[in-house]
Amino acid sequence: MRRLFTEIVYTLRGYLETFGSSMLFLLRILAACPYALKRPGLIIKQVYSTGVLSLVIIILSGFFVGLVLALQGHNTLSRFGAAETLGAVAALALVRELGPVVTALLFAGRAGTALASEIGLMRATDQLSGMEMMAVDPVKRVVAPRFLGAVIAMPLLAVIFSAMGIFGAWLEGVIIVGVDEGQFWAQMQAQVELHEDVMSGVYKSIVFGFAVALLSVFEGYNSIPTAEGVGRATTRTVVESSLAVLVLNFILTAWLIGEV
């Protein structure tokens, strides 16, 4: 019992330390951003490797989440005789919650780990030290473009996920289960607000993008320069990013709902 307690304390302390040093790292990255912005080529390359290469998994996941949402939603809603509100329910769930959150979790698994292991490998093979020896700051040349690329890619992936989810819900709900098409869209349009719902989801995904991108490059950059160290950095990236996304999601949701 006591061991469990100390272990929890240690773990929490570890997270707090990670949080603190990642914040300091964020300042370094932000200071390096003007340099990176002057080289859009570098950022485009990173938008490609974080965004485009995550696209397939995002599209497929969004589609299947939409299908399930419609199936479950229809099953539940028809008990209340409210099956025609399916469109609204699915769209709200996707735009407000599932779109940003699930995308961020998948993004951490697909792009975050790729970033962490790529930078970790550069550390392990002296590429980062090599750059420093060539008087090139690796935070500017390597970290900042990757960070910005991920920050740009994440909200785009989230809206694509939501749109695919709504398509999936429409396919399942309207074409297969047989909810009235007009009602499906009308209820959705009556309930979903641009600022309150769609944009709040977009804001969330921007924040998640920052969090996942920061933790990925941070873990990669500070990984122990061995094969094992890189592996561990990748694992930590997924764990910490997922945790950060879920905690941030709660805070943001409380804040966004509280404000409206």
């Binding site: 485009i44 390359k45 938008v47 490609y48 965004g51 485009v52 696209l55 769209a91 735009v95 890619a153 909200p155 785009l156 992936l157 809206v159 694509i160 939501s162 749109a163 695919m164 709504i166 869209w185 959705m188 349009q189 009556a190 979903v192 607000e193 641009l194 309150e196 719902d197 769609v198 977009v202 409206v260």
Partner: protein
Amino acid sequence: MQQTRAVEFGTGLFVFMGVVALFFLTTRVTSFDSYSGDEGYTLTARFDHVGTLKLRAPISVAGVTVGRVTDIQFDDDRLEAVVTMRIASEYDQLPNDSDASILTAGILGGQYIGLGPGGSPDFFEDGDEIEFTQSALVLEQLISTYLFSQAEKSEKE
């Protein structure tokens, strides 16, 4: 070179898809109706009781949404609720003696403000106050009023 071009093409396509998805979410999924923040004019109305009226609740005339509630305040001088609403600029021909009442959409639906057109030849202008208002119906008050009136009746008899 070939590879760079593939990267640029892929990234372009990706960003394009993102924009299309966002466009889809803003136009197809939301109502994107007459209410659009800046365009339009502001009216106020005083109510004894606003019930569960919320910000962004629709303002409707003859069932058509013409605007949204933008602010609900309590006036401690006159002990009344002051509701500010924004009406889309295309609906600028509402008679200035129209009345506002707080209504409920369906049995479980949210509350909204219904405008009943009056007969005045002049129209509302920005910053005007709607003079004739009817407060929200509160179920408990309705019931107690009914019970009291029944009790009075039976006493008289």
